[in-house]
Amino acid sequence: MKRVGIIGSGNVGANTAFFIAENRTAHVTLVDVREGLSTGKTLDMMEAGPIRGYSSRLTGADEIAAISGHDVIILAAGRVRKPGEKRIDLYLDNSKIVTELCGRIRELAPYAVVINVVEPVDSLTLLAQESLGFDRFKVLGVGGILDGTRLRYLVSKAVGVSSREVSGLVIGPHRRTMLALKDTIRVSGVPAAFFLGEERVDALLEEMRGAGDTILDMAQHSTSYWAPSAATARLVHSVVVDTRAVMSVSVRLEGEYGVTGLCVSVPAVIGKDGVQRIVDAGLSDSEQKAFLAATADLRSAVEQEKARRMAR
């Protein structure tokens, strides 16, 4: 079995370990600087193992050196967003952590595929790729796949069918400017608009854009973690088992979709090397325009973030 190292034992990190065990994907080493936390959580999961039939070995550690030589590394450290917080403040705190961690990962696991879940995800996936100096296809961010699962749930509920029947790709920045590809939103291959009408679909897209905020507002002291962990574990599974599933992930574009030097979610074939190739979903003119506007907006945010980080 391959080995996955997860850095950060908060709700997202720990539950990603949990879902990897549930998927029977790989052995996991969970690391956090908070002493004992990773050991306690992985022991609890291992004790559920006989009932759940796990074949993974889950281990906790307080030292990042424990991820040495692992095949996949997940960045789940840093802190989560507070209600109403500005992105830049979250970025400044988390970018420091991501830079430090990437310095260590470069020595400890130089051949790993690295998956970033730390927010703001597109900015920090780019920063991780630059700090690591890894091939751009080996550094992935969890963005579109999470927005996509939320969209698929909302459509399934509106149509009144099982969510297994529903497809839907969401690309672009993992923020309100995200872009759902209308033509991919289908129920067993039938366009969702056939069941719901265009207006209703548009309303669901708006609901999807606010889904993360909705959970944050309701729960107050905690952000969503179940769907993000499940999505991350799904991505890990595709890498470790080399399933070649097509998923929307944040990856550094170099000309694809008309964008260069930015990490943003696009559909890609996911396999043992990370992104095996980027898939051209054939955007309509208006979609291409919206995508470029969203990425231009992201680029100016990324530039501001970089300037603030450098000035610090």
Partner: protein, 314 residues
């Protein structure tokens, strides 16, 4: 035929994780009830969003109103307070008795035909509170204890033997806590008793670690306690009842003379099916094993005596 319905009371880590395990089994729609309405609704929405990537499509609803349990087939009670610094055992017993009593009243009113699975601690005593308050048939009130203790022992044995987790079965009887009675003769690797695979000193160490299993997790987490394994154990019981699996596993059940124990909830092997405890399996125990079980029963009886000092149905 409508889907079955499972309600889980208490949306803390154990309750929420149990809801998730039940969701993934795709055997029932789920209601999660907690006094914290916002947090509960946020959690259920998060679960629903994960459905498409996890391949489950059941309905999951969060509510702060106990009436939401209406017509449930199974209700799991996880609500209760953890012991806080400065709280003595009796204070905790009183607080959780009040919570569980209130929940039980709601179940009696809204889900009178449900099988009730109790998870709140002190477990064996809370089973008494539920039985007394609901007045349900005693086969329909079951406590989650032995499966959790057994899964911990199974993991420790697998680790010691170096075999797959699924190869190991274990039997742990008695009260939930320090007084549990693990049975090495009925703890096996692919059917082979561990007494034939491991030496006595090693087995004693594994049993001791099992007895302190909950405390070990707390010692690492510091500010929290175990929830993945407890939730998995509770969900296993839910599945056995909902799918009428006739699953034999150790659970807290009300004894009326079995094992020579009268009128007491305590952990013994039971057969779980749609009616709850469908049979109590009476193992042939050695005198020493039976002695340990009786001592454990006496400790639980002392807890029930404490309950009797203040419990009233009013």
């Amino acid at each position: 035929m409508a889907r079955k319905k499972v309600s889980i009371i208490g949306a803390g880590n154990v309750g929420a994780t149990a809801a998730y395990y039940v969701a993934e089994k795709v055997i029932a729609d789920i209601v999660l009830v907690d006094v914290y309405e916002g947090a509960t609704r946020a959690k259920t929405l998060d679960f629903l969003h994960a459905g498409p990537v996890r391949d489950y499509d059941v309905g999951i609803v969060g509510s702060s109103d106990i009436a939401a349990v209406a017509d449930s087939d199974v209700v799991v009670i996880t609500a209760g307070m953890p012991r806080k610094p400065g709280m003595d055992r009796m204070d905790l017993l009183k607080v959780n008795t009040d919570i569980v009593k209130g929940v039980s009243r709601g179940i009696t009113e809204h889900a009178p035909n449900a099988v009730v699975i109790v998870v709140t601690n002190p477990l064996d005593i809370m089973c008494h509170v539920v039985l007394r308050t609901t007045g349900f048939d005693l086969r329909r009130v079951i406590g989650m204890a032995g499966i959790l203790d057994a899964t911990r022992l199974r993991y420790f044995v697998a680790d010691a033997v170096g075999c797959a987790l699924a190869d190991v079965d274990a039997m742990v009887l008695g009260g939930h806590g320090d007084q549990m009675v693990p049975l090495p003769r009925f703890t096996t690797v692919s059917g082979i008793p561990i007494t034939k695979l491991l030496d006595g000193a090693t087995i004693a160490k594994l049993l001791d670690r099992t007895r302190k299993g909950g405390a070990e997790i707390v010692s690492y987490l510091k500010t929290g306690s175990a929830y993945y394994a407890p939730a998995a154990a509770a969900a296993e019981m839910v599945e056995a009842v909902i799918t009428d699996r006739k699953h034999v596993a150790p659970c807290a059940a009300f004894l009326r003379g079995e094992y020579g124990i009268e009128n007491l909830f305590i952990g013994v092997p039971v057969m779980l099916g749609r009616n709850g405890v469908e049979r109590i399996v009476e193992l042939k125990l050695t005198e020493a094993e039976l002695g340990e079980l009786k001592a454990s029963a006496e400790a639980v009886r002392q807890g029930v005596a404490d309950l009797d000092t203040f419990f009233s149905l009013k």
